[in-house]
């Protein structure tokens, strides 16, 4: 209490000084450019982007302004993101493609930006339709197959250049435009693609099965041929004996192997009954 009483004037002076400092001194971060607007007119830019200056030697840091008269508008100094709504693009062979692209830009002339677009969000809103129209124009000149491949290099460079030309009017520089995705649109194009894939696979599986059958047939035929060769080699030594031997085997398997009973009516002239008559 006594402290307050003894130092009252100096404390008040200190408070006033702090208030004056706060309204005069501004701190510009490395990520921002500050446009000082004096009574509605942009008078100067603090920490304007320059590609050659490394961080630490840029204009960021403490700066001043006139209280009340000067207004400071911060403009982003970083590379900004411009996203686009997915677009249907018609290729020159009348095929549809769903394209999603993005652009990266930087505000290099904050005064122009503040005058023409006021804020970054507003600038984005201005640039997005330009991007989609440029994209449609450029991709519409190319065949569908060319859009799918990665070799879109010249197309992308053209799009970037066209967008950059427009963006310069807002004090922005377009650094890069890239296609994030190029897809078949939902609905019939996608469905037909699925059908094509399906039939493709069906053809493949049928081919595989048929190939298996073919191999199986060949394997069986080769085995049978080999078996025939073995038989011929063995039996060819004495065809007459083979006939007899095989007939014996055949009788056994026919009469003995079969189910049920057989009846045989024999004539006494039969070879088996030759000795029946006791003839010699």
């Amino acid at each position: 209490m006594s402290f307050w009483q003894t130092h009252k004037p100096s404390l008040i002076a200190l408070g006033l000084l702090a208030a004056a400092l706060l309204s005069t001194v501004i701190i510009v971060p490395e990520t921002k450019q500050a446009v000082i607007i004096r009574t509605g007119e942009p008078v100067s830019v603090v920490n304007q982007f320059s590609p050659r200056k490394p961080f630490g030697s840029t204009g960021a840091g403490i700066w001043w302004r006139l209280p009340i008269i000067d207004r400071v508008q911060y403009v982003d100094r970083r590379i900004l993101n411009l996203d686009m709504q997915p677009q249907q693009v018609l290729s020159n062979d009348q095929q549809r493609l769903q394209v999603d692209a993005y652009a990266r830009f930087r505000i290099i002339d904050p005064v122009l930006m503040v005058e023409s677009a006021v804020s970054e969000d507003n600038l984005r809103a201005q640039l997005a339709p330009i991007l989609s129209s440029v994209l449609r124009q450029e991709l519409g000149r190319r065949p569908f197959a060319a859009l799918l491949t990665a070799e879109r290099g010249t197309a992308m460079a053209n799009i970037r250049a066209a967008l950059d030309r427009q963006a310069r009017q807002y004090g922005a520089q377009v650094i890069d435009v890239r296609i994030k995705r190029a897809d078949l649109p939902d609905g019939s194009p996608l469905e037909t693609a699925f059908t094509r894939m399906q039939t493709d696979r069906q053809a493949e599986s049928e081919t595989i099965k048929a190939r298996g059958e073919k191999d199986a047939q060949i394997i069986r035929a080769e085995a049978e041929a080999e078996a025939a060769r073995i038989y011929a080699e063995a039996y060819g030594k004495d065809p007459e004996f083979y006939d007899f031997y095989r007939a014996m085997q055949s009788y056994r398997s026919t009469f003995l192997g079969g189910e049920g009973q057989s009846s045989i009516i024999l004539s006494p002239d039969n070879e088996y009954l030759r000795q029946f008559r006791g003839r010699r």
Partner: protein
């Protein structure tokens, strides 16, 4: 709490009971020294003094409780804190202790302020940066000053110099395509459902902090663009089967790094890994059918191989048997032939019904009902051999 039997109250009747209850009230340094030097208040409520009816309440300031134990009321508390509290009766070590006057009789206030400022300066100007981390110093949160390497670093105190510390060695994962189906067109205009993981870390903290509006979004978008470009160079089979994966992963990494370097983003791509590369759900059945067909074809081949082995083995067996017999037959052709014939006939005719018709003039009578009965049973063959010509 206050009503419970206090553990302090049961202590021996020694003298220092009053001191222990007092410690927490003035935790500062100066109060501690007062405890040693001070004589302590009169211990009126000590156990053994005869006046207190029960154990001493430790929460009650020792100077206030003359009567039997009770909880402190608000008056007690304020009385012990005010200048006319127990200090009037006790020494400087009692509760509600005040700093002894400074030499010269001035206030402690400037000293306290200086001490706080000193601590502030000390705390906010030394920075311990862990081995994995990197720090960044800015003037007033604005202009970049310098980087801090791991170890102990000194800066000007806050807010003159402000410090941001970030883990730069940590490899961060970014997963893309994990939720739902993410269809990507391949080079042969097929679709593949892909999800992948990008591992990245901060290469340059300054660039990472100051160059990009939203580094992580940029990373995701650059990754997606690079992945689609790389997948479009491969056929569906190469993507799904995995033979093209390493090419894709290397291509994506290279593409991403080139773009991110062009942005001066300060991001290093450590690796890209494809986690899933499946056909779209709608056609996955057809893909499964292909592998099923593969299996089926192999099964057919196996079956025919088994058959082939059977046929061959049988042929070899038959041939070997014939060779054996034939070798014997060669030795004694006529006898062997006869023997085989009789043996066969014996076993054949031994099991069947036999009818021998003697005279050539007899008309054979077949017992048809009998034959029919048998036919109904098992359709057995009836064989009639005509008289042989020899």
């Amino acid at each position: 709490m206050a009503g419970r039997k206090s553990p302090w109250g049961g202590g021996s009747g020694g003298g220092s009971g009053g001191g222990s209850g007092r410690g927490p009230e003035d935790g500062d340094g100066p109060a501690g020294e007062g405890e040693d030097s001070g004589s302590g208040p009169p211990d009126q409520d000590r156990p053994g003094s005869g006046k207190s009816g029960g154990p001493r309440n430790p929460w009650l300031p020792p100077g206030s409780g003359d009567g039997p134990r009770r909880t402190p009321n608000i008056e007690d508390i304020f009385r012990s804190r005010g200048p006319e509290g127990p200090r009037r009766r006790g020494g400087p070590g009692g509760p509600g202790f005040r700093l002894p006057p400074r030499p010269g009789g001035k206030s402690w206030f400037p000293v306290a302020v200086a001490a706080i400022v000193g601590i502030w300066v000390l705390v906010s100007s030394t920075h311990q940066v862990q081995p994995k981390e990197q720090g960044m110093v800015t003037w007033f949160g604005g202009k970049y000053s310098r980087s801090m390497t791991p170890g102990l670093n000194f800066t000007l105190p806050w807010p003159i110099q402000q410090v941001t510390v970030e883990n730069v060695s940590e490899i961060r994962p970014l997963r893309i395509g994990t939720e739902g189906e993410k269809l990507i067109l391949t080079g042969d205009q097929n679709l593949v459902d892909l999800s992948y993981l990008v591992r990245w870390k901060i290469k340059d903290l300054t660039q990472f902090s100051y160059q990009l509006d939203n580094p992580e979004l940029t990373l995701a978008e650059v990754g997606e663009s690079a992945m689609r470009a790389s997948v479009a160079e491969q056929d569906l089979d190469a993507v799904v089967s995995g033979e093209g994966r390493s090419d894709i992963e290397a291509g994506v990494r290279q593409r991403m790094q080139a773009v991110l370097d062009a942005y001066k983003s300060g991001i290093a791509i450590e690796g890209v890994a494809i986690e899933k590369a499946d056909p779209p759900t709608k056609v996955v059945e057809a893909f499964k059918a292909v592998s099923a067909a593969q299996q089926e074809a192999n099964a057919t081949r196996n079956r025919s191989r088994a058959y082939a082995q059977q046929v061959l083995a049988r042929a070899q067996g038959d041939a070997a048997a014939f060779d054996q017999i034939y070798a014997q037959y060669k030795l004694a052709p006529e006898v062997t032939r006869r023997r085989l014939y009789y043996e066969t006939m014996e076993s054949v005719l031994g099991k069947v019904d036999k009818t021998v018709i003697e005279a050539p003039g007899v008309t054979p009578y077949l017992p048809l009902p009998e034959v029919k009965r048998r036919a109904v049973e098992a359709a057995p063959p009836t064989i009639v051999t005509g008289p042989k010509g020899n």
